[in-house]
């Protein structure tokens, strides 16, 4: 007999009582009219009966106790596991906190060092102030500084100038010092082969001298500025310094600013020196640096350039510059 799956489904549903009343009537009609369908019904019915007739097995008596034991064991293990996981979690959390705290401390330390390096200059930032005894004038009542009183320390440095026309340049410097009324501020220390001029005066007066030196700056084979820091024997060296850079460094409002600018100039000049063709210097020369407008004296001849008379120069902040003139070999 050829099996029709659709009829099989109908017959099985008929056997299982899963048909509607109408479907049951239809199947009953088929069975009554078709012997093959009736035979197939019996075959399927026997399949059902065979399975249905299998003896019912009873669960082992220990199932309940086993289930209880398993639940207890799993609960215990679950709690232990949860407890273990909780302690592990707590340890992990603590470790993470410690690591985070250490990282923060490290970061703060590094930041502190960086900020300290940026903010605080190489030496101490505190200005050195010489304290003297001030007594009012008995007659006028005015207070005048004593000779021993020194203003807050300003620029301190040394300018080394190398030239092959030592005699002429030395003579020019001496005359410039006299013309600018700086003789009183001078303590010449003649050394063999070099002229040394230690000047301690106001920055304005020093500017006048530097302005004169600017006229002959090109005659120097080299010019190096040593800016003293507060640290003993520590200096910032500005090689190939220009007169404009020197004036700018000397005229900074504070020693810290002078030191900072000196560092920048030193770096810039070093870079320029390492550049082929010195393109940067050319570019820099084209830029007008905002410097003090210095009247230029004339190097030779009897005519003097327009310049501010020494007696009209106001006394500003103090500066100490030692000019060292060295003959080229």
């Amino acid at each position: 007999m050829k099996v029709n799956p659709n009829i099989d489904e109908l017959l099985n549903s008929f056997i299982d009582g899963e048909l509607t009343e109408r479907e049951q009537t239809r199947v009953q009609g088929m069975i009554a009219n078709d012997a093959q369908v009736a035979q197939r019904l019996v075959e399927l019915q026997k399949c059902k009966t065979l399975v249905e007739s299998l003896p019912r097995a009873e669960a082992p008596s220990e199932v309940l106790e086993q289930v209880k034991a398993m639940v207890e064991r799993r609960t215990l293990l679950g709690e232990q596991s949860a407890s273990f996981e909780a302690s592990e979690g707590a340890r992990h959390l603590l470790l993470r906190k410690v690591v985070a705290a250490a990282a923060m401390i490290g970061l703060v330390f590094v930041l502190g060092v960086v900020i300290y390096t940026i903010v605080v200059p190489t030496g101490s930032t505190e200005r050195m102030v010489a304290v003297g005894h001030i007594e009012p004038d008995v007659r006028t009542g005015a207070v005048e500084p004593t000779t021993g009183l020194v203003a807050a320390a300003g620029f301190r440095g040394r300018l080394e100038l190398k030239t092959d026309t030592l005699t002429a340049i030395d003579a020019f410097i001496k005359r410039a010092i006299e013309d600018n009324g700086l003789s009183d501020c001078l303590s010449p220390q003649g050394l063999e082969g070099k002229g040394v001029y230690s000047l301690s005066c106001s920055r304005d007066r020093l500017n006048l001298l530097l302005a004169d030196l600017g006229n002959i700056w090109r005659k120097f084979d080299s010019a190096t500025l040593f800016v003293e820091t507060e640290q003993f024997a520590e200096q910032i060296v500005v090689d190939a310094v220009t007169v404009e850079q020197t004036v700018d460094i000397v005229n900074q409002d504070s020693r810290e600013a002078s030191l900072a600018l000196a560092k920048d100039c030193a770096l810039l000049n070093t870079m320029v020196a390492s550049m082929p063709g010195r393109q940067i210097m050319t570019a820099i020369d084209e830029v007008k640096i905002d410097l003090v407008d210095i009247p230029k004296p004339v190097l030779t001849g009897s005519e003097k350039g327009l310049r501010k008379p020494a007696d009209t120069v106001s006394e500003g902040p103090q500066a100490s510059l030692t000019i060292v003139l060295v003959g080229s070999e």
Binding site: V51, A57, L64
Partner: protein, 201 residues
């Protein structure tokens, strides 16, 4: 007479609520109420008494573990059997993968008496009496072996219908399949059983 699912559900709702409140006596009652039926279904699907006992225990442990999350969208009866059948079918698939089940149909594995009993059973033109069939040990052995030759999905449908007596709708819920799928799967299963029986003869 077999107790139908509808009769069970009345008490089940109360027992489940008590279980969810932590009443261990209610839990025990639920286990005692269903352990034989669940064990029987599992045994008919997996055909191994030891494994069936273990799977039954595992079923009840899972029921207890998940009872708090049981929201009553289906009856407890359906839910419990879904857990049991799923566990058993997973077990069967695992065994097939491990090569622990032989799928070969071999008529020589049945004894002569069994074959004769089957021949008589099939040739009887009257509707066979289930009680008499149940008393025929050879026929029962053949039935168990033939059931195991069905694929797992067909065997589960046959067992739930002919052993547990579930309606098609319940079977669909337990196996999470369409009603039409239950109908066609059961039809194919019985057709296959018939073919296997004829193959023995």
């Amino acid at each position: 007479m077999r107790s139908g699912p509808a009769n069970i559900n009345v008490d089940d709702t109360v027992l489940v609520e008590q279980c969810q409140k932590g009443d261990s006596a209610a839990t025990e009652r639920l286990i005692l109420k269903y352990q034989n039926r669940i064990y029987n279904v599992i045994l008919k699907i997996c055909a191994n008494p030891d494994d069936a006992a273990e799977l039954t225990q595992e079923t009840f442990v899972k029921i207890i573990e998940r009872i708090d999350g049981f929201e009553g969208r289906s009856s407890f009866y359906t839910w419990a059997f879904r857990i049991a059948v799923n566990l058993t079918l997973n077990y069967c698939q695992r065994n097939v993968r491990l090569g622990l089940v032989s799928l070969d149909a071999d008529s020589s594995e049945h004894g002569e008496n069994a074959t004769q009993s089957l021949k008589e059973f099939l040739s009887d033109e009257k509707s066979p009496d289930p009680v008499r069939v149940a008393q025929n040990k050879e026929l029962c052995e053949i039935a168990v072996k033939l059931l195991m030759k069905l694929d797992d999905a067909q065997r589960a449908v046959v067992v739930l219908r002919d052993i547990e007596g579930m309606s098609y709708a319940h079977i669909a819920k337990v196996l999470d399949i369409e009603l039409g799928t239950v109908r066609s799967r059961l039809s194919r299963a019985r057709s296959n059983l018939r073919d296997l029986m004829e193959a023995i003869l």
